[in-house]
Symmetry: C2
Subunit: 493 residues, 2 copies
Amino acid sequence: MATELKDLTKRSENYSQWYNELVVKADLAEQADVRGCMVIKPYGYAIWEKIQHILDGKFKETGVQNVYFPMLIPKSFLSKEAEHVEGFAKECAVVTHYRLKASEEGGVVVDPAAKLEEELIIRPTSETTIWNTYRKWIHSWRDLPVLCNQWCNVMRWEMRTRLFLRTSEFLWQEGHTAHATREEAEERAKQMLKVYADFVEQYMAIPLIQGVKTATERFAGALDTYTIEAMMQDGKALQSGTSHFLGQNFGKAFNVQFVDKNNQLDYAWATSWGVSTRLMGALIMTHSDDNGLVLPPHLAPIQVVIVPIYKGSEGLAHLDSKLNALAARLRERGISVKYDNADNRRPGFKFADYELKGVPVRLVMGERDMAKGTIEVMRRDTLEKEVVPFEGIEDYVEKLLEEIQQHIFVKAKTFLDSHIYPCDNYAEFKERIKDGGFFLCPWDGTAETEAQIKADTQATIRCVPFGVDQSNPGTDMVSGKPAKFKVLVARSY
Amino acid sequence: MATELKDLTKRSENYSQWYNELVVKADLAEQADVRGCMVIKPYGYAIWEKIQHILDGKFKETGVQNVYFPMLIPKSFLSKEAEHVEGFAKECAVVTHYRLKASEEGGVVVDPAAKLEEELIIRPTSETTIWNTYRKWIHSWRDLPVLCNQWCNVMRWEMRTRLFLRTSEFLWQEGHTAHATREEAEERAKQMLKVYADFVEQYMAIPLIQGVKTATERFAGALDTYTIEAMMQDGKALQSGTSHFLGQNFGKAFNVQFVDKNNQLDYAWATSWGVSTRLMGALIMTHSDDNGLVLPPHLAPIQVVIVPIYKGSEGLAHLDSKLNALAARLRERGISVKYDNADNRRPGFKFADYELKGVPVRLVMGERDMAKGTIEVMRRDTLEKEVVPFEGIEDYVEKLLEEIQQHIFVKAKTFLDSHIYPCDNYAEFKERIKDGGFFLCPWDGTAETEAQIKADTQATIRCVPFGVDQSNPGTDMVSGKPAKFKVLVARSY
């Protein structure tokens, strides 16, 4: 058995440690030499590339075009939108100089002569620099909508970091749209949330709660923040993507005015929306188990691994010709296959390694199987093994991959549904929240009760969920006042 | 005629200004609000995405995997490789603080309490941080080779900048490989140069001179730098991609040791290689003309534009049904088509605009063409128009796109070949270099004569070109000493 696997902490022992170990042992990412930053390794990056590729196509289907804006933002831009600066100034990497010079003691020091007149910030998000440019692009309603997106790195100086979940530098996409009307901008913000939700459910196999954030939890500068919230196996929430209706806040802050159809000057309406490498954290924590990663077939870099069991080079030659041909036939169907006939590791070690890496389907064939015309199939999600006829195995595998994709979604959905609790008793809430889960609670709509819940339990209002009957929300469980909404409350990552 | 086009400076009047205007007028990029940085606009980014997509596939075919390393590098890393720090310390953006705070006069100021213990550099290139990590990945020959690449942004504080050609921040890919033997590393460095050269010639339609840099022009820290040099229409060289054999310099600087097959400890051998958004500059300057961009069909975001000529909505309806169907049939063949039936611009304006944007093929159909069963075809490279039968137009267009791709390559190759001059007379060289062109000159191999040429003429030795008979290089044109090589000398971007 792989030594990596033997050492993996069990989820039931320490969920948090299990996650930290798994990210490293499965070769997804590791701590970088710079505090709070990560190195995304080839296997992890291959998953991220699949996420990027699929999402990028879906953005483009809605008319979005990719662009690139500079990573450095003049300090003064940040202050132009009052709430935005509050939200982001505290955690900025600041560039103050543009040159090093040789030090007398050897090495290099910052050259004091190369001090910038105005400091530059590494983008924590790009609304300010993009809206300062939109002013030059937008003059008439004919210039609208502007639908731009960029895939890039951003930086938020986090004090407590965890690989993928919260790192100082992370990769993401940020969409920034400008519109002629409020309605169109609100529609776009909701549309992009739907794009995210469909992607996360269909490709990542992660079931979601969708909703709108409270004023406290909104993006700094937004009128409304829409969110998708996923439940991890410890019952905590992980905010997996957000889409913001920004009103005219950035249009006004950066004076982006246009002549509308009635020949009147108006400020442009804005949205922004993003998902990040955080999704990798959600993917890992939703499906994986004590044996390692469980990857949804739609995102697995290797969907099928084929391992021959043989003695001597002659035995291998027979298996090679048969299994290389099988690998080729599977690849023709668009399935990504690894044929591992290397003799550097014993089969048991290979098995444990591919389990750790979450390869959805494993095919194993020995000389006896070959004689009998059979092959062994193992599915990673249930670890079930089956011996099936070699003839027709391509169809079998293709169907099985879809079945696994569906199965891990249904499994996660069952888990989510069985851990959502209606609750209007605060004492009960305080006790039960310790075990995790999403609580559907009546809320009076005030920031005070929201703060109280957080102070008492560390839980936050994740959102006012869509699709919940809000006609009779009941009585706020904290204040005893009439509730305005039923809200989803949970501890979160 | 489009006002943008009317204003475009002619190449013969001012080549440099023609370029600067074209980049902006064709909606490729513009100056950002941060000095020396650029905004890459949707049309420009669409070309860059095609470049990325094709190159990325070619890298992967050679076994390269994508990764992501942090953009911030501890200052001390830079000093570990002696030559590397010389080459890059002078132009670094330096992060010294990690927080802003509200100022008493309003706005935000750098929080002096949030000073970093060790300053961080925004990567100008990532050898140092990557090799510091490779130390953890590489222990045995079994761990080798390591073949990683990343697509990312980098920052070099340039004083004089031009869109795409030289910007403080730019986008690129950087490959970093580690090997067990010198031979394998040298082989990889050459292999990646070939990948670049094939791509640039076959997709960008830019003919190249390949060769190896002199010691003076090498990458800081390399033993050998291989280069591809393209010739712009003004006869200047543009270095379009480089691949470096780094020897054991970084292996030693970062103590990356491994146990080889003979159980001996050795330092790992390295290469690195990169191309950047500079390629966009090469693309524009090689093919474009006084009417605007000329794009090679293999990289054009829109390969075919179809414009109907009509009076009234009934006329349009007929054309729409015929031309939408044509567009669909072309798309089925993998051709990207824009059908522009919008009534917001006159046909003449549309024509000029698509010429400016370099769309390779324009199809125009009026009601009379429809009656006669014909369609007008214009090819952007020669601006030739032809009326051809509508029947079979798909085949015609598909062939024409390939023909244009070949034609602009041949045209550029003819230009290049006719502007390479053998020259061993320094007086003649000094006179003729003013008009541009590549000069093949005997060189004594010393840095002194190299420096002399540069001081006298601003020209540099671009490379010792491959494929040139070096058996009898002659006499150095500056020093009169026996030459070691024939080298390519040119002014460059």
